[in-house]
């Protein structure tokens, strides 16, 4: 065991201990409610989940990968602006987009009224399966875009040139060279999209799209049976494992970095109708995924800002930011250890499984994680009682449980895999020759990590940080249930109003949330640092 091995072991334990609180249901005999779910609901839920996930996957791959491709390979008017703006829909939580679009297309909504003034007497029914697919694709495609972009912009043009020399058409080159070579990135992005879709509860509940997460919460809330809910989430987890396993098998032992000298092509200029098609494609995505909902939110905020600006909003903003920063830092550190452990030479099944298990959190619905983490911290607090008495905390037992520590721990558990996948993907790209040379020259693991790896995987770290930050700031179910008393984050403020059917009052909080996330993206790109370096380098 070395440094990375030990750290990964500890991290894995931290993640897995709360999960064992869920596994007990496997030993509880099934009850009549479970029979009821199986008999009347399960099939419908599985079918709907399949339709939803396939739809969202397909559309977001097309949107996400194509936009990354256009941005990295072509030059056209507004490309630079679009290159970072296309990430912005990620700043909008799916449930906010869901509520806003539902309101806009409702009978009193702005889109319906606009269509009526233009003479179309029809109403778009967004509260449906199609509507849900639309919302998820538009808010989640940036995962694929972001990761594909960093992959594509680093792809040495040598491969494509060789393909062309051998007589392949551009179309064939795209399908047989470009897409397969950037596979680790877009597949990782797609996995995130699938997991986010499976996890959502806000949109599917409001749209009454009866999918698996709906079943989990239905079992818990409507039928009052948490055991069946956990059983269902274990089933869900099992499906996720299968998806991941299939991906691994398909990927096999292929390597995605070859020892070729990086050579970057000047982007092809686009003119005429081709430029118009590409530009309208990108602007329509950006418009519907970001600009339109944000304009609507600005209108809400202007209607309600007098009652919205108060200390509660300020506190919520600060809480959201500090949660996101602290969790993201921890996730990066943990993910770095795990990723290093994952890429050492000795590969075996136990190690692979351990790493998979450590990244489990993302595949489990937030509210179920909340239950697991809560049980863990209550137990922990009971153990720590003597220490509390020693340091002068009288009477109280649930000291940690009632603090934000629980919350941050849950965030880390939930989002570790986002950090891991980004960093692991980056390692895949640089290969291990530099690190191995450093070891050969006698540097320690930690030294090699800090002096060799970190500068190399910096772009991956930045994108991991942004993704985790944005995910934490948008996170809802964990935050709701695990927050301390009198505590608000932006997401909980938004939810409280949205659930109360007062989405207008959530306008300002939503905008703040979006602005914070957006600023982060913009700030990073404007300094031409990190992942966007290569996207700009040829201008």
């Amino acid at each position: 065991m070395n440094l990375f091995g030990i750290m990964s072991f500890v991290i894995g334990l931290l993640i897995l201990i709360p999960m064992t609180n869920l596994l007990f249901v496997l030993f509880v005999p099934t009850n009549p409610i479970w029979e009821h779910i199986r008999r009347y609901l399960l099939l419908e839920y599985i079918m709907n989940t399949f339709i939803l996930v396939s739809g969202v996957t397909l559309i977001s791959i097309v949107i996400g990968y194509l936009s990354a491709y256009f941005i990295s390979k072509y030059q056209f008017f507004g490309r630079k602006l679009l290159s970072w703006m296309l990430v912005l829909p990620l700043a909008i939580p799916s449930y906010v987009a869901g509520y806003v679009y539902a309101d806009m297309t409702s009978y009193t909504g702005s889109i319906t009224r606009l269509m009526m003034t233009m003479g179309f007497n029809m109403q778009i029914n967004i509260l449906s399966m199609m509507g849900a697919i639309f919302i998820f694709s538009l808010t989640l495609y940036p995962y694929i875009y972001l990761l594909s972009l960093s992959g594509l912009s680093r792809q040495s043009v040598t491969y494509q040139e060789n393909a062309m020399l051998l007589g392949a058409s551009p179309w064939k080159t795209f399908w047989t060279v470009t897409v397969p070579l950037s596979r680790p990135q877009w597949v990782a992005g797609t996995l995130l999209v699938i997991l986010e879709t499976l996890n959502d509860y806000g949109v599917v509940q409001y749209y009454n799209v009866r999918v698996f997460s709906f079943a989990i919460f239905n079992a818990w809330f409507s039928l009052g049976d948490l055991i069946s809910a956990i059983r269902l989430s274990l089933y869900l987890l099992f499906f996720v494992f299968i998806i991941i396993a299939i991906e691994k098998i398909l990927r096999g032992n292929k390597q995605f970095s070859l020892p070729v000298k990086p050579k970057f092509r000047r982007r092809n200029g686009l003119r005429g109708w081709k430029a118009w098609i590409v530009m309208s494609f990108l602007w329509i995505i950006l418009g519907s995924g970001f600009i339109i909902p944000v304009i609507q939110l600005i209108i809400y905020a202007s209607q309600t800002f007098r009652t919205s600006i108060d200390m509660k909003l300020l506190n919520a903003t600060l809480n959201s930011i500090s949660n996101a920063v602290i969790s993201a830092i921890f996730v990066l550190i943990f993910a770095l250890f795990l990723a290093n452990f994952a890429r050492t030479r000795h590969q075996n099944i136990i190690k692979k499984l351990w790493i998979r298990l450590s990244n489990l959190g993302y595949a489990i619905p937030g509210a179920v994680i909340a239950v697991a983490v809560h049980i863990l911290f209550v137990d922990l607090d009971r153990l720590l009682v003597p220490i509390y008495r020693l340091i002068g905390i009288e009477q109280r037992t649930l000291v940690l449980t009632m603090s934000a520590v629980t919350l941050v721990f849950a965030y880390i558990l939930r989002f570790l895999s986002i950090g891991f996948n980004s960093i692991d993907g980056q390692y895949d790209r640089i290969g291990s020759k530099f690190t191995e040379s450093a070891y050969m020259l006698g540097s320690s693991k930690l030294e090699a990590l800090i002096r060799i790896d970190l500068p190399l995987i910096y772009p991956g770290m930045i994108s991991a940080f942004i993704l985790v930050f944005i995910d934490v700031i948008k996170e809802l179910p964990l935050t709701l249930i695990l927050r301390p008393t009198n505590y608000h984050a932006l997401s909980t403020l938004i939810y409280v109003y949205a659930r109360d059917e007062m989405i207008q009052h959530a306008g300002l909080a939503s905008l703040l949330l979006i602005i914070i996330s957006a600023l982060l993206i913009v700030g990073l790109t404007q300094y031409r640092k990190g992942m966007f370096k290569d996207v700009y380098s040829n201008d």
Binding site: S106, F221, I326, V405, E447
Partner: protein, 344 residues
């Protein structure tokens, strides 16, 4: 290496700072409330309570079932003194999980009518809401309207919208039907109603009202308080919708309109039982009732307190004559039946 150790120190201090967010109001007298309600005006009442009695109210708000799980996990160590829930069925669920303790309070028994509280004083209703008909005056004559049961008549085919089976209001309405008519008749009623739906249930209560105005349906079953909220919406078009529709209290001449409560109970392991009872007494008192109910356009529970002008303008309401605790008894069954008959 120096950098790494600096980093560790930095991280550790962050952890400490986060850790320090708790435990700062040790000395002050306070109670902890787990609540499903979260209206800004509630806070005003809690502040008034603090000013009057010197007891601070700490709140965690979330959906009822998550708060219930949380209380279960925390067991005897919980810091929650009160659990407040916006549905009688859920209050009964918390009761059956042994999360409440029995309270004897003359004040509470005086202020809250018997049918709106638990017989053993485990929970107390604090506000009422009714599930009524909302219809479009151009397409529905008042004379056509009578009871929930009548909506199963074929002349309503394709004209009705309401919420989904996963919605608590639907479940409680169904539970009340079981309580009044028995399981078999309630099942037939639900089947008949589903057959007359204009569309698969979707959206929230406001969406049902909009469906009536837009012509998707002629009649919606929805809660009174959403109509009040829509009339006071910041969106002028929503106000217009609320002004277009008309309200009808069903079953006034038979079994009464379905009414539900939001209420609270003192938790079994409350550390500040007396102060928690004080808050319950305060919230159900004549002083606080009007504001507490008005926060959400609900009916006050206190018999002497007059409801909001808007609610009064709809006429007097005759409610279902059942103990609300029976909603809890039947709510699980209600959900099962809804699933079985295919109420989406």
């Amino acid at each position: 290496m120096k950098k790494a150790s600096l980093l560790m120190v930095f991280l550790f201090s962050i952890l400490l700072i986060t850790g320090c967010q708790f435990g700062n109001d040790q000395k002050e007298r306070s109670i902890t409330l787990y609540s499903e309600r979260h209206y800004d005006t509630d806070q005003v009442l809690y502040d008034l309570f603090e000013d009057t009695y010197g007891i601070k109210v700490n709140v965690i708000s979330d959906e009822a079932d998550k708060l219930i799980s949380r209380l279960q996990n925390e067991g005897s160590d919980t810091e929650a003194d009160l659990l407040m829930i916006a549905d009688a069925g859920r209050l009964e669920r918390a009761k059956s999980l042994d999360l409440f303790q029995s309270i004897e309070s003359v004040v509470l028994n005086e202020q809250i009518p018997e049918s709106y509280r638990d017989e053993q004083g485990l929970w107390f209703g604090l506000t009422k809401r009714a599930r009524v008909f909302v219809y479009h005056p151009d397409r529905v004559e008042v004379s056509e309207l009578s009871t929930y049961e009548d909506l199963t008549h074929p002349r309503w085919q394709g004209r009705i919208v309401t919420r989904s089976a996963s919605n608590i209001y639907t479940q409680s309405l169904m539970a009340s039907m079981i309580a009044i008519k028995g399981e078999e008749e309630a099942r037939l009623w639900a089947e008949g109603l589903v057959a007359n739906f204009a569309r698969d249930p979707q959206g929230n209560d406001r969406d049902q009202a909009k469906a009536v105005v837009s012509g998707v349906a002629d009649l919606a079953i929805m809660n009174t308080y959403y109509i009040g909220r829509m009339l006071h919406s910041t969106d002028p078009y929503e106000v217009e919708v609320a002004q277009t529709i008309r309200i009808f209290f069903p079953n006034q001449e038979t079994t009464g309109t379905h009414v539900n409560v939001s209420g609270a109970g003192v938790t079994k392991y409350a550390k500040n039982k007396e102060d928690a009872i004080k808050l319950l007494e305060f919230l159900s008192s004549e002083v606080a009732q009007r504001a507490f109910a008005d926060a959400n356009f609900e009916y006050p529970i206190h018999p002497n307190v007059v409801p909001n002008e808007l609610l009064t303008s709809w006429g007097t309401l005759i409610a279902q004559d059942i103990m609300l605790s029976s909603l809890g008894t039947h709510s699980a069954k209600a959900t099962l039946i809804l699933n079985e008959i295919g109420w989406k």
